[in-house]
């Protein structure tokens, strides 16, 4: 059962709490810019064979993906927060379905993560990237898909974990490999054979590929394949999250 009013209320709650939390917004944007400026400049001298643009430009879509990855996954902490501060009980005794409880949080988290990513997209001029703005609607759609997958994943993990420390530890274990194995910081053309399966099963790979295709026109997979994989993953992850909420709350 889907209760629209309840989902909207839970969405509002996430977004309102976030927009009041200015340090979080700033630190998140600054982190991405540091990657772009420092990491990007440092590696600008390096040349990947077959890559005829400068490295910072190549890295830019990867940094947007990184921002989506970190912000979305850590949205799961809201569940642990609510459990610790008692608000979870208020939601659990209400007559709404576990699916609605999940969707409210997924929409809230996605709104936040995508807003941050859009903010970083605006900084494209800093590194001299020329974004194809006509593609903005498609970029937005891709961001929403990527973020909803990751928020659902974060929430699923959070529903099994009681403590902040536990959540942070497990998240680092998941986020780091997802980031490094996504083609965010190096081209996939020359990766060793053993790495291929790991990269191919990582949904982030397809997300970064879409953003890179739409922003600077460099692609590894076809756009259709990227979107199909992401849509399938989004459906799968929300279903999984909904089951986790049913089992654990």
């Amino acid at each position: 059962m889907i209760e629209y009013k309840a989902i909207k209320a839970l969405w509002y709650r996430e977004v309102k709490a976030y927009s009041n939390d200015r340090p979080r917004i700033i630190s998140s944007v600054v982190r991405s810019l540091l990657w772009l400026i420092i990491f990007g400049s440092g590696f600008n001298a390096a040349r990947f064979t077959g890559l005829d643009i400068n490295y910072q430009e190549f890295l830019f879509p990867g940094v947007i993906g990184m921002s989506l990855l970190f912000t979305s996954m850590f949205m799961g902490i809201s569940v642990i927060w609510d459990r610790e501060f008692g608000y979870l009980k208020e939601i659990v005794v209400s007559p709404i379905s576990r699916t609605s409880m999940l969707l409210g949080r997924v929409f809230g988290g996605t709104t936040i993560a995508v807003s941050e990513a859009l903010l970083i997209l605006l900084f494209s001029f800093v590194v001299g990237v020329h974004v194809n703005w006509i593609n903005l609607p498609a970029i937005l759609l891709a961001m929403i898909l990527i973020s909803s997958i990751l928020v659902s994943l974060g929430l699923t993990v959070a529903s099994f974990i009681e403590s902040f420390e536990g959540f942070n530890t497990i998240m680092s274990f998941i986020i780091m490999p997802m980031f490094f194995l996504s083609g965010a910081i190096f081209p996939l053309n020359q990766m060793p054979a053993w790495m291929k399966p790991l990269v191919y099963i990582n949904p982030m790979t397809y997300g970064i590929d879409i953003i890179r295709t739409l922003t600077i026109g460099i692609s590894y997979f076809s756009l259709q394949l990227d979107f199909i994989v992401l849509i399938a993953c989004a459906a799968l992850m929300t279903a999984l999250g909904s089951r986790a909420f049913k089992a654990k709350m």
Partner: protein, 329 residues
């Protein structure tokens, strides 16, 4: 119709029976108290009745709906004020109420009006636009009571509604609960381990220990069952104290500096004692009456032993509560 009927309601935690085949009937529109020492099973009972915990065996009907077969109808029928704080401190008082209304699918047109009405009931009208973070402990409790009432539930559960509040705030919260019962068509079930709370608020009280009911009646009847009230008099001439033995309603006399008369009904006994004293020219300097309180009743049923383990748990919980209330956690 009864608001709540439990049928052999039982909950085991790893072989420990927290609630043991509980059978209670709570009447429509009454204020019913669950009284018991820490760890007696009060909160566990409440958690089962509001669908947070699944009973190990047995079931209950809440507002006519079966707990196991129809949990969602049960959820719609009840409002809850939890023992631990459960507000969103990052939102305003009003937002907390509005989100609650949305979770219960309330009609948008009625929501604002209802929120204002309840804010007035708990005296928070001026603070509704402030973040809950800035509220005092007592204000938070009141907001929680208002929130629990938002969707006009048929039954309101209050789990230790005044735990951790200072005496003034506590009596204020009692006033609001009295106000709720006057203004709303509602049954109230509260747990407490404060005797005065049960005595001043409840129509009927169940004393529960080790998950079982050990006594159930109105506070008045419970104290009457335990027995006597004490009328204390001081006499000009103590040697005449024994003359009061001739009064047939005096069950016992204890003479020390003053004279203590055990009677069954002190209020009626005082005029008779005075009359007797005047007729027999015994001069009474002062007279005092002490009622047997629920405190004595409680001690009678539950015993005087201190429950060390539970006491420790409680202290921990209280510390947590205070830290949260002060915003440090």
């Amino acid at each position: 119709m009864n608001a709540i009927e439990t049928l052999g309601l039982t909950k085991n935690f790893n072989g420990l029976t927290a609630v043991d085949r509980l059978g209670i009937q709570v009447k429509d529109r009454e204020v019913f108290g669950l009284l018991g020492p820490n760890g007696a099973g009060k909160t566990t009972t409440l958690s089962m009745l509001c669908t947070i915990l699944k009973p190990t065996s047995g079931t209950a009907k809440v507002n006519g709906f079966d707990l196991l077969k129809n949990p969602n109808e049960v959820r719609k029928s009840i409002g809850i004020v939890f023992q631990d704080p459960s507000l969103d401190n990052r939102l305003t008082g009003m937002e907390n109420l509005l989100i609650h209304a949305a979770l219960y699918g309330m009609d948008d047109k009625k929501v604002l009006e209802r929120a204002k009405e309840l804010a007035k009931l708990v005296d928070l009208e001026d603070r509704m636009k402030d973040l809950v973070k800035t509220y005092s402990g007592g204000m938070r409790r009141r907001l929680e009571i208002a929130r629990g009432l938002m969707h006009t539930p048929k039954i309101l559960f209050l789990d230790e509604p005044t735990l951790g509040l200072d005496p003034q705030t506590r009596s204020k919260v009692w006033e609001y609960i009295e106000g709720v019962r006057k203004n709303e068509d509602i049954t109230v079930i509260l747990t407490t381990h404060y005797m005065e709370e049960a005595e001043s608020l409840c129509d009927r009280v169940a004393i529960i220990d080790y998950g079982k009911i050990v006594a159930l009646d109105s506070p008045h009847e419970l104290t009457k069952k335990i027995g006597n009230e004490i009328v204390t008099i001081t006499l000009d001439d103590k040697t005449r104290a024994n003359e009061f033995r001739s009064l047939n309603f005096v069950a016992g006399i204890n003479v020390s500096d003053d004279v203590k008369l055990s009677v069954h009904d002190g209020t009626n006994a005082i005029p008779k004692i005075m009359k007797f004293a005047i007729e027999n020219k015994i001069e009474i300097k002062s007279i005092d009456i002490k009622k047997v309180t629920l405190n004595e009743v409680f001690m009678h049923y539950v015993g005087r032993e201190i429950r060390e383990e539970n006491e420790k748990d409680n202290t921990k919980q209280m510390m947590k509560y205070r830290l949260r209330a002060s915003g440090r956690l």
